[in-house]
Amino acid sequence: MYFLPLFIGLPLFGAFVLSLIKPRRVGDVLANLINLSLLVISFLLLRFGTLVYKIGGWEPVNGIPIGIYWVKDGLSTLMLIIVNLVALMATIFSVNYMERFTEKNRYYCLFLLMLAGMNGVILSGDMFNLFVFLEIASIASYSLVAFGTGAEELEAAFKYQIMGTIASSFILFGIALLYSYTGTLNMADMARVLATKGTAPVVFVGALFIMGFGMKAAIMPFHAWLPDAHPSAPAPISAMLSGVLIKVLGIYALIRIIFNVFGITPVLSDILMVLGTISLMVGGLLAIGQRDFKRLLAYSSISQVGYIILGIGLGTPLGILGGLLHLLNHSVFKSLLFLNSGAVVYATGTRDMQKLGGLNGKMPVTGGSSFIASMSIAGVPPFSGFWSKLVIIIACLFANRFGFAIWAIVGSIITLAYYMKVQRDVFFGPLREDLRETKEVPGFMKFSMIILAVLCVSMGLLLIPQLRNILLTPAVEVLKNGIEYAGLISY
């Protein structure tokens, strides 16, 4: 119970201390220590059930909550573990990678602010509090995209920020409408009021939220900023943005509100599934034509997010299980792939795939881990991505949605195609003359890539019933129970 504030307090403390002091080593040690302890704490949370934390100790008056509540349930625990795991790997990677940039401590400051924002979004049980944390994470990510201050980074950051601000306006508009209808901001209480008073505003507010959070998650019609923004950031930040930020700010917030506050309806479910399928296909097709390594990965993120939305939008327990497992898998292998691309840029100085080739001999760790990640994301058995895609496809079949199942299989084949292209162009084949001097990257970078690669191989084990009951089943239960979430205010 006393752990929960640490998820916000520790990163914020680190961020502001690091903006005061200069030495680089202090930044490295402090940021890594904070992320390590947050990861340990989020694993400790597995031992608890649902917790409701009342900030400032404000108890409900006449059963109506006042003040801000934080809620930790199965879904939040799963998300916290993902976020803090990827964050730890990204900071370990940054120790070496960010040496080439000036102002390393400023970088850690923004990184930790972004982490605090994401942890806040996950824990918050209050609509407006969620919005505030969402903005903290977004604003930190805008400035991190611009961190290199080159012409392209700035252009991408401006585009990203304009889109992100419009998205935030839609979300805030939706929250204002919900508040005027229900008279409360607490999400559990809002679910109760909507259940008793009727769900009249849900159609319009739902459209606003799908637009707003959809832009944050880069679902297909709202994706235009992502292929510019994600490649422009430094590699560990690309890993964070693609790996967890779009999932926390977009998918998590959207499904939390749609499932737990509104209650899933067939119409909403269909909208989510159609949007998911469109992004899965179009993102995949656009990825094939790319020459830039990181840009290809960014388009691939759009496509894989489509899988997650498709699985969760199905609304059956099996579909939700597949969607959440794919979310977990995708954050691991996509952050690994972005770290690989960072390692390639670090060693060779280019990310144009036509200027690369045959790096496997020179960079065995990078090449090997990226091979594992590529096979995993393409859904080759026995790697992790295969199991989650399999569960999603089976869930589509069980729900008699054969069309969606076929699209998912086709999307998986396309994914395999463009990752084969990555492997062939960058890591296999003859070594190019101008790359003779290439060396493997330093130790910390290798360490985080190896850890993520091991996770990629072993993540399929989470489907074994004993392990599933610890991590995934509680998260699925939360979404399956839907607006029973309203019962939380009785705590």
Partner: protein
């Protein structure tokens, strides 16, 4: 009926963001969208014949307007301030690199 006003303002801002080609005008349009939302928040907090929600000595049991939206607007203003400051900073830097505010000419990234 009065709720139409912030919605019109919101749409004006959205139109500006989508149509204008100048970076500074886009920033101004984003701010207009924000202000429309602040106005909307202030309006939904209104109660007929309500007083400003300030406790004064000797004047208990007065009918107040809803104080919560006002607190929310204040928070949203702070967020809007941060966003605008960052946008302006990036726009100035872009001007230094490209020598123009015209979004048509700022195209190093391929779609």
């Amino acid at each position: 009926m009065v709720y139409i006003l912030p919605i019109i303002l919101f749409l004006v801002g959205l139109f500006g963001v989508l149509v204008k080609r100048n970076l500074i005008k886009m920033i101004i349009s984003v701010s207009i969208m924000d202000y429309a939302l602040f106005l909307f928040f202030a309006l939904i907090g209104y109660r007929g014949e309500g007083m400003p929600p300030i406790e004064l000595k000797g004047a208990e049991h007065v009918k107040f307007v809803d104080p919560l939206p006002q607190a929310l607007v204040l928070t949203a203003i702070v967020i809007g301030l941060a966003t605008t400051a960052l946008l302006v900073g990036i726009a100035v830097r872009i001007y230094q690199k490209y020598g123009t505010f015209d979004i048509e000419k700022i195209r190093k990234l391929r779609g």
